[in-house]
């Protein structure tokens, strides 16, 4: 079979300009070779910074600012596209090679209708007339399972859901009938239940149009469903390259093994319940006249981890805002240690504030970029306990030890730390207050899988050492399995199911929990087909299937 895309010994470098005016060359991708043939999908997988997107973009002969190819060949159907001039590249992009970006919401122009944007490339390149392109778009909308394909193109981007937008973008890529499509994390920003549909649609469309595809993602379970071959990348170098089945079932390299086994950590069953630390009853809260949370009742035992799981828009972060007092509830009560908490932050005493600390999703924005680590961790010490001078420095060092970082970080700024280190500092800041409850709002969802695992282990260890309780907000069932004692499943502002982890995560399920659990990709070939099969069977049975939520 002829190779549609052949990459030979690719080397990509970037010029880094230092603040002092000097510049140096960094190698982003080094000696990477692979082939993709017609109708096949190659999955590129790796952590952030592994060079996945950079490789994907070289297939379009494109480099982001300052990035340039310094070695190797990119052969598209035998022709080296990296040697083409501007005009030649323009005839390739959009027509022969198409790109699907991670955030379709950001990639569509909100001022134009979808249809016009979808057919633009095909029409501009003179491949089809406007009418032909429109017909093809309608056909593709149908193939991708979009509602009302004939009129879908008449809508504006904000009028469709995130999952639909991502599929529209796939239609845009397919419209000009390209030889190769580069998918750059197309489902990463979507909820699990939506992700499954987009994955299925993409897989179906690739098979239908017999296009070659590069599929870039950090989620091995996702790529296992869709690709024929997988290449594992790390630090711009190829770690392992082989058929999907071999990578998943018999990985050769240590690093691949770590990626494959990452979702398999889990914790023992719930520990015996102690006294109730946090008790929420009949809570309703919202913004302006919309109730985001409706009639929530939870109780969190001391020293345990309570996971709140749900998709985006289910109200889980709002719940954290209500508990911290940032958003006073309309009705309902929050009791902490048996005494009711004032609903608004302003009315709470400093002591009450100290007992509940928070860890944010984005450690970047949760720390003042102009404070040193010593000040970030040290401030709660001064504020709550009046610790100053030597004693304060000593305590900050202790805390740094606890989060497995050394005293050399004392005088660094947050910008000088990696994502995982920043989140660790955020944890240390919360610990410094000696809290009884830490609210964790998706603390690992912005991190690479291996780093995230390290953070979860740290949280568990700290819980054993300090007996602190966690309210852990997440969308990831695997995390719930790994760390929770008790679980609440949220859907559209309501708790649909709660209790001990083992009880919540074992049948019989309610409809939503069932859908959620079965939508989590598993590291298993053929999982996608199995789930879709099961889902179709279910829909035939129940008259009212749960409709997809807008994300």
């Amino acid at each position: 079979m002829p190779e549609m895309l052949s990459v030979r010994n690719l080397r990509v470098e970037v010029t880094a300009h230092q603040p002092d005016g000097s510049s140096s060359r960094l190698v982003l991708v080094d000696d990477v070779s692979f082939d993709v043939s017609k109708g096949k999908v190659l999955g590129l997988i790796g952590e952030s910074g592994a060079g996945k997107s950079t490789i994907g973009l070289t297939a379009l002969a494109y480099g982001r600012g300052g990035v340039c190819m310094t070695g190797g060949q990119v052969l598209l159907d035998g022709e080296d596209i990296s040697k083409l001039d501007t005009r030649g590249i323009r005839s390739v992009r959009g027509a022969r090679v198409a790109y699907v970006a991670q955030s379709a919401a950001a990639a569509f122009n909100p001022a134009h209708k979808l249809g016009r944007q979808v057919i633009e490339a095909a029409f501009r390149h003179g491949i089809m007339t406007r009418e032909e392109a429109r017909k093809r778009a309608v056909y593709l909308f149908g193939v991708l399972g979009l509602p009302d394909p004939e009129n879908f193109g008449e809508r504006y981007p904000h009028q469709v859901s995130g999952g639909q937008l991502q599929r529209a973008m796939t239609a845009m890529a397919l419209c000009a009938n390209p030889e190769l499509i580069v998918f750059d994390e197309p489902t990463t920003a979507l909820d699990v239940t939506t992700q499954i549909e987009v994955l299925a649609a993409i897989k179906h469309a690739i098979a239908e149009t017999n296009t070659a595809a590069l599929y870039i993602t950090h989620d091995l379970a996702v790529v296992a469903q869709i690709s024929d071959d997988i290449m594992v990348l790390r630090h711009g170098k190829m770690v392992e390259y082989g058929p999907t089945r071999q990578i998943i079932e018999a990985p050769r390299e240590e690093y691949t093994r770590a990626l494959v086994s990452i979702r398999q950590t889990s914790r023992e069953a719930a520990r015996p319940d102690g006294d109730v630390l946090l008790n929420i009853e009949g809570l309703t809260a919202g913004y302006s006249d919309v109730d985001v949370l409706q009639d929530i009742s939870l109780s969190l035992p001391k020293g345990q981890t309570f996971a709140v799981v749900g998709e985006s828009g289910s109200g889980k972060s709002t719940l954290a805002r209500v508990i911290t007092g940032l958003l006073p509830p309309r009705t309902g009560t929050i009791a902490f240690n048996g005494t009711p908490l004032p609903p608004a932050r302003k009315d709470r005493s400093r002591e009450q504030l100290r007992r509940i600390q928070m860890i944010y999703q984005m450690a970047d924005t949760a720390m003042n970029p102009r404070q040193k680590i010593r000040d970030i961790i040290g401030r709660p010490l001064t504020l709550y306990f009046g610790t100053r001078g030597q004693a304060k420095t000593g305590r900050v060092k202790e805390l740094l030890e606890q989060i497995e970082m050394g005293p050399q970080f004392l005088d660094r700024y947050p910008a000088e730390l990696s994502g995982g280190q920043k989140q660790r500092v955020a944890i240390a800041r919360a610990l410094a207050a000696k809290p009884e409850l830490i609210l964790c709002d998706e603390p690992t969802s912005a991190l690479d899988p291996l780093v995230a695992e390290g953070i979860l282990k740290l949280l568990l260890r700290l819980q054993e050492e300090t007996a602190v309780s966690y309210l852990f907000i997440t969308h990831d069932i695997a995390i719930v399995r790994a760390i929770a004692d008790r679980v609440a499943v949220m859907h559209r502002g309501r708790v649909v199911r709660q209790g001990a982890k083992t009880a919540v995560l074992s049948p019989p399920f309610d409809d939503y929990t069932d859908l959620l659990l079965r939508s989590v990709p598993e590291m298993e070939i053929g999982w996608l087909e199995r789930v879709l099969e099961g889902r179709r069977g279910n829909q035939r049975q129940s008259a009212a299937p749960i409709e997809m939520e807008r994300s």
């Binding site: 928070m358 003042n368 970029p369 401030r379 910008a415």
Partner: protein, 275 residues
């Protein structure tokens, strides 16, 4: 601030500002003639006894330029600093307090801004006694409405960041939030604004002087000197150009230094103006 890593442009700017400052401080020692003495013909050409020639009354232009640095630099700088103190304090208070405080302050600010600055200054200065202190305060008060606007906008941006929310949840007071969380992260745009406002202050001062409500003769100031000599341009006399060039020189120098300060304060990732 690391002075060693200062780029050449900032060094030039700093040297220029220091030159003007030295002229201002040591004017009586440097200037060849007195500020107000008529020493020659009207609009004598450059060269000879008078390096830059003489002005419309026959006073030495170079001496007046050196003395003029005093009034110009002092009044413009004092007015700009004062306007930033007022504008930033009020705007940050408005942002941090929110609600009714924000509304009242912002609407009062709108009210003041709706009156043309020059007319407002004329009315107020005509009523109040004429001295430099009053002049500075009036200029600062008018300018602070503009600072308030920009200060509120940048502070609002920063006040919704997670780390500010984290500080509130920690139980920090308003002063801590303003000075430790918000101020350091709004410095870059505000410094840029400072450079511009300083330039405007010099020009505004010269406008007021022109109308007879600014710095009173015979005290020299650069804006007033442009006004005094502007008739000469018609006759090919370049006397008005020297103070004009001095104003441009000072403004450019200030902005060179400010540019460097912006870069130095914005170099931390995650800070404003660094996207």
């Amino acid at each position: 601030m690391r002075l060693r890593s200062m780029p050449i442009s900032a060094r030039i700017g700093l040297a220029g500002i220091m030159l003007v400052a030295l002229c201002a401080i040591f004017a009586p020692l440097i200037a060849p003639y007195s500020e107000s003495a008529v020493v020659g013909e009207v609009w004598a050409p450059m060269g000879g006894d008078f390096i830059l020639g003489t002005d419309n009354l026959g006073r030495d232009l170079l001496s007046r330029l050196i003395y003029g640095a005093r009034a110009t630099l002092f009044v413009a700088l004092a007015a700009t600093l004062l306007s930033f103190s007022i504008g930033m304090t009020l705007s940050f208070t408005a942002v941090v307090s929110g609600g009714i405080v924000d509304q009242v302050l912002s609407r009062l600010n709108d009210l003041l801004m709706s009156i043309p600055a020059l007319i407002l200054a004329l009315i107020v200065l005509a009523v109040l006694p004429q001295n430099i202190g009053i002049l500075i305060v009036v200029m600062a008060a008018i300018d602070s409405t503009r600072v308030y606007r920009i200060g509120r906008a940048v502070a609002l941006d920063v006040s919704v960041m997670d780390y500010v929310e984290a500080a509130w949840l920690r139980g920090e007071g308003k002063l801590w939030i303003i000075f430790r969380e918000i101020l350091p992260n709004t410095l870059a745009p505000l410094l840029g604004e400072f450079g511009l406002r300083f330039a405007f202050s010099i020009l505004f001062l010269s406008t007021l002087s022109f109308l007879g409500l600014g710095i009173q003769p015979p005290v020299a100031d650069w804006g007033g000197m442009v006004k005094d000599n502007k008739e000469g341009i018609i006759f090919g006399v370049s006397a008005a150009l020297a103070p004009g060039a001095a104003i441009a020189f000072l403004v450019i120098c200030v902005n060179l230094v400010v540019d460097w300060l912006i870069n130095a304060t914005a170099s931390l990732k995650g800070a404003r103006g660094d996207a």
